[in-house]
Point group: C2
Chain length 300, copies 2
């Protein structure tokens, strides 16, 4: 089933304790789409500037991603983000952020995009996320991401969004901020009370938690000794998860749990190199192999 993602496309500069990489491909929609493409057809909607390099589009298209929704804004510059990771590779500081073309991004969906049954609203203002929803014609499953900024400055809009979506994906610190609750189990349950049918609470290197009316569970991150660049781990997690749901054309509890497993596995791959480099060399077979290892790791 085709999967729609609307989100950011970025040029990142990444500082890790051992290396600096400048002007590499990033953005929530980018990481999400690439990860999801191993499972499902993906339509990607976003905006870039005149500085955008055609080779990036080609890279995405080569994985079968429908890039016709990538709008090039004349005279504009692509969104840029510069981040620096702490020694623990889990915390990071934003050194620079230039919204550029993202500042006035108002996504317009093609007819095909509007008809996608599975939708992921990557991190963006709740107002923009709802504008996307307004254009959809009866999606089966809508999942959104959010961040601290929107919790702080668009709280009411976010609350409205929460009543219109099926699933929400957010970080542990964001869940605490949104619910004013330090215990993550309570925080997740409180987010659930705000409207979505399920909540995925991401804990970075410590994995992710899942909350629905009938279930609460935790899945650890797949342990990898090779953490090179954690950028995009959360979006790849969502991409693996949504890609699998879309492939299965199902989101019952069993499929959702497997999808959490696939999200975990794809995220563990992406952090092993910069940008999309690790996934570029990956195959569905490799992902399935790590998924089996992960499943076995958790059975006793």
């Amino acid at each position: 089933m085709p999967l729609l993602v609307v989100g950011s496309i970025a040029i990142d500069s990444i500082h890790t304790p051992t290396e600096v990489r400048e002007n590499i491909l990033g953005g929530s929609a980018t990481h999400f789409s690439y990860a999801a493409s191993f499972f499902s057809g993906v339509r990607m909607v976003g905006v870039v500037g005149e500085d955008w390099q055609e080779e990036h589009t080609q890279l995405l298209a080569d994985r079968g991603i429908d890039t016709s929704g990538i709008e090039v804004e004349e005279g504009g510059k692509t969104f840029r983000w510069t981040g620096k990771y702490h020694n623990n590779m889990n915390d990071r500081d934003t050194l620079e952020v230039h919204l550029n073309v993202l500042e006035n991004f108002s996504p317009t969906l093609s007819e095909e995009a509007a008809r996608c049954p599975f939708v992921f609203l990557a991190n963006g203002s709740p107002t923009t996320q709802m504008k996307v929803l307004d254009q959809m014609t009866g999606p089966r499953l809508v999942v959104a991401d959010t961040m601290d900024l929107w919790i702080e400055i668009e709280h009411d809009q976010l609350k409205k969004l929460l009543s219109r979506i099926d699933g929400l994906v957010l970080n542990d610190s964001e869940a605490k901020l949104l619910t004013n609750e330090e215990n993550l189990v309570r925080a997740g349950q409180k987010v659930l009370d705000m409207g979505p049918k399920f909540v995925v609470l991401k804990k970075g290197e410590h994995g992710a938690m899942f909350f629905s009316e009938n279930e609460t569970y935790v899945m650890p991150a797949f342990p990898t000794p090779d953490v090179v660049d954690p950028t995009g781990a959360g979006d790849s997690f969502a991409g693996g998860m949504m890609g699998y749901l879309s492939e299965q054309n199902n989101f019952d509890p069993k499929t959702l749990k497997e999808a959490m497993g696939y999200g975990t596995v794809v995220a563990s791959l992406i952090v092993e190199d910069f940008s999309l480099d690790r996934l570029k060399g990956a195959s569905r077979d490799e992902i399935d192999g790590r998924f089996d290892k992960y499943r076995q790791m958790l059975s006793f």
Copy 2:
């Protein structure tokens, strides 16, 4: 099979964000023994002062724990610790610590204690831990805990200890300090290279990792919304784990993994109230029930 634990017995004062409890029973050997007593016979060795209250011994004896190794030092005072938890209930500050009788504690084992096949050397100086080992007559499985203090001031002794034990249990921050490695997978593997056959790396609310020559895995904490007092979680984890190994009289990989699960479950119970209060009301049936839930949570 009888299980020996040598470690601290304490009177704690605990400050949580919502409550203060003074002069409650604590200590590594105490938490360990109580947790292990649901699985196995336990012999507890430690020292207390003249201020020790007989009701504490009675509480332990009521669970079948052999308390004859608790030495009462004339004119001495019991070890005291006061700690304050941060809002996240995972980090804490030590407000006061009075070693008292623990300062010159030199454990002497009875013949029965020396013959125990399963041994846990709870947190203590490596020198003292090795003195215990010197008295043992052919134990089958020796596991030790350690802490940052010993890594810093008794590094050489700790290295010696590591070559004499089968398993080491330590915190994530301690593993990083010991190995000078930020990635926990690498840190765990480096500790393994120092001698023990397996390493358990505890991550507090995020669970625990296991390392052996042939296996690396992560087990998340059992998610509980009711975290009242995390004191003793790590020692109870070790108690549940070692208790189960001792009960099964086995420590093959399959049994070790189940033991990690039991450790996780017992730790998730102890944090739901102060001191031993939550476990006082627990039964093996309740522990087994949560274990089954935990196992199910991780299967997909």
